[in-house]
Symmetry: C3
Subunit: 364 residues, 3 copies
């Protein structure tokens, strides 16, 4: 890990299109990036989530990346920039670097079909199995225990972490990253009910992942029954996500852990789903829509919405409903009191009328 | 992939017990099955979900399998039958065929215990480990990276896709299919709390899967603490499903992705659970009951119910509750207006009485 | 499996600090432990969950571990003790024993870096890959297909079941157990949005698991972006659990299947979460708090709470809300009837006034 002065670091960030102003001594040296709470002297930190603003005064970090409108609190040097969370990405890169993959070359202990085509510079570990008619691009890295089925196409600079499984016929673009244990292209639940039994519909489709897709650990993406299940360019998944057969997800989306999307769903570009969201089959979700964690999407949703709840509705409506559910005990109490008042009024009005005759009954 | 005329295809479907009437030219040739939206000329499609009915007029498919009461819209040839979704299963089979497994025979790079018994025609890949006292039936196919623990019994024509793990003592029936990464028979969370620590209860039971069970990718089925965790004949699972220790699931059930069933649950036959359903421990669910996606089952449910919600209740009740929750803002408004009316009435009635003395107080 | 007389068994339990009284013949022999429903003659059972109390009269078990205040029903011998669920842990241990791992020694078919340090008595199977700078303690057992990344530290007597994946830099304490397919230390979803694309923040942190941690099958624990994701000593996980980057979980916690905890969460000691619970990012949960299954924790929760619902609130409040939601149809009916009564009263009061002039309007 290199040590950098703040002026060197700011120079690197400027090259990446992230100009920063330095409030303090530009000759201060940082040798690691850390959280505000854990950083010690000689480390760089960052303030992106306002929840941690108070830590600016208590952190022992020597310098902190902050937004242009963050308070000047604390003794550390401030590096002010427009998007400190993006700047920290480049700072971590500059100081810590990125993961260096072990270099296996083409391991003798990998089982590679003679009918597979492996690009130059590929790095394929022991215990990998690659079937016939597979095409793997240049500089791909395949960790131990991965399985690549018949006819799979994998682009350049793809990384498959350990024990990933790519079923026959899947197509992965360039620079795709698949984390450990993820399964791409298994059969979906395609069965027709006949006389109380489930008749399997052969799953004749496949999966396509666009360029720069990153899929977390232990996700399961069904192949299509017919045609394609597609994850668009630049989309990122966390872990333990299930995608049903024939679903299409657009570009630059983000799916947090344990999201489950049923089959034949159509998700636009730049869509974000929080953890544990569920989406029912055959619905369409428009571009840039954001779905709060744990929501259940049961119907088509237009573009540019923020939705939550089950069924998911605009977040303002969902919050109002939640608040009112929490106030139901008070509401019930009020209803009881109103009933008592009505009963009293009724007695008053009718008690007063009763001596003068039965007119109240006839007025009903 | 063979090309078939519609009259040839209808002949095949009739043999499978799916007679179809042809509305149009029976000599038309189809060479693939595809969705209504994606099919091109020379392809067969199908209409099973009424949501896609409009596509009948826009599809470029040459022929479409439809139900007997589907509209005659569109220029494509109609193949009318009772259950188009079942017919398409056989049509895909006839035109696309089923997945052909790679043929590894008994790979030299598999690690098979000399104390294991492997049936004739078995197809066992590189990187498979099979422990002592395992019995594997005829024509089983075991993909790379699978682990089969001590004393496991596996029936005929079973398929274990890549990296499936079968713990010691599990019993799999004939024609069972396990998709990639699924784990059968790990210990459940059986711990007794003693002085603030968790004391592990050895998990001495095992798992049994009946004939024709198909389990999706990345499911986890706990072994029983004592006795057996059982999945009944013909039951089908999607992906990322968790089954707790000692739970019994009946025959011909279907569980959609991310279902989680706790331990000691008893599920009947022909039960269907939508995605992300949760079932609490120790409950019983009757035959043929259907649980809507994302529901939480917290209590025993009789047979033949359709339930939803958390806690899951009959779907009609759950829908009424959901609608009323959505109307809570309007309900609150109405309560406020009623309160205002009551206040006004009270003032009217009591204001009128006040001059004539304190009689209203005594009438309370 | 040894046969034991009840007096021998009671002697063993007394040594473990679990004294039992015998109600019946102490010379009765038991040769297996089983559930009340499945036990046959010659077997020991136990009653820990009051739901099964009735089975005490119908079980065929020869002896049953019961609590001191359980009823004397049934013909079987009763072994009375303070905590029958803990006693059964030791009884299963004494009668069934614990799983015996296959003994592979250091398999020739494992791929172990010459730069790794492997402790004495280690048991490493075929198909395992261990990278450089790994340190593995004494008597560790690593099942087939596991991957141990660069610089990982693993304590004594650790068990990694088949196909577990430990990413570079992770640290596992002594006696840690990881079930099959679990992934430790993959990158979390750390991306900064820049011009509609996701810029990856290199995930430079790591994961630490304390001594005696047990993790179920197919869990995914993110490495920290910076610093550490930590699971405290003695904590137990079920299956398919997702833990976000930088989250800290205390000691002796229990997480049931499919729990999902986002990043930067701080969970205390002795916390229990039921199945499918979700926890939003950046929240703090106090010691000993219990979260009911399927709850969603969206805000900080103090110690010693029992919470449920979405958002999770004290369980009593949540139950009251649920009951009132179920009563919403009745509440709406009551509101309608009240409205009708108000309308009638209004008509009565104003109808009576109308002849005598406009005084009611002026009284508003």
């Amino acid at each position: 890990m290199p040590e950098l002065t703040l002026s060197e670091l700011v120079g690197i960030l400027a090259e990446k299109g992230m100009p920063c102003g330095i409030e303090g001594d530009p000759s201060v040296v940082v040798r690691a990036v850390n959280t505000l709470a854990d950083a010690v002297e000689g480390e760089l930190s960052f303030l992106a989530n306002p929840k941690y603003r108070k830590q600016l005064t208590t952190t022992r970090a020597s310098a902190v990346l902050v937004s242009n409108n963050a308070p000047p609190n604390g003794r550390c040097v401030k590096l002010r920039c427009q998007n400190p969370y993006a700047a920290v990405a480049f700072a971590v890169d500059a100081i810590h670097g990125r993961r260096q993959h072990p270099q296996w070359g083409l391991s003798d202990a990998a089982d590679i079909s003679p009918k597979a085509s492996i690009g130059p510079g590929a790095n394929i570990a022991a215990g990998v199995s690659i079937e016939a008619d597979v095409v793997i691009g240049a500089k791909a890295t395949i960790y131990p225990g991965c399985y690549v089925g018949k006819g799979v196409t994998i682009g350049d600079e793809v990384t498959l972490f350990a024990n990933a499984v790519i079923y026959d016929g899947s197509k992965l673009g360039h620079r795709v990253t698949i984390h450990a244990g993820t399964v791409i292209g298994q059969d979906g639940v395609g069965y027709a009910p006949v006389d109380g039994k489930w008749i399997k519909i052969p799953q004749a489709g496949h999966v396509e992942l666009g360029d720069d897709v990153e899929i977390g650990a232990l996700c399961a993406i069904d192949r299509a029954t017919l045609g394609v299940t597609r994850i668009g360019r630049g989309t990122k998944f966390s872990n333990l996500i299930a995608i049903g057969h024939g679903t299409k997800i657009g570009e630059d989306c983000m799916m947090v852990a344990q999201v489950g999307i049923a089959g034949s769903v159509d998700v636009g570009n730049h869509v974000v789903m929080g953890g544990q969201v569920g989406v029912a089959g055959h619905v369409t979700i428009g571009d840039r829509t954001q779905v709060a964690g744990r929501s259940g999407v049961l119907a088509d949703i237009p573009a540019d919405q923020k939705i939550m709840g089950l069924p998911a509705v605009p977040s303002g409506d969902a919050r109002r409903q939640l608040i009112l559910v929490q106030r139901l005990p008070a509401m019930r109490l009020q209803i009881r009191q109103m009933q008592a008042e009505i009963d009293r009024l009724t007695q008053l009005v009718e008690g007063e009328k009763r001596p003068s005759g039965g007119s109240s009954a006839s007025s009903r």
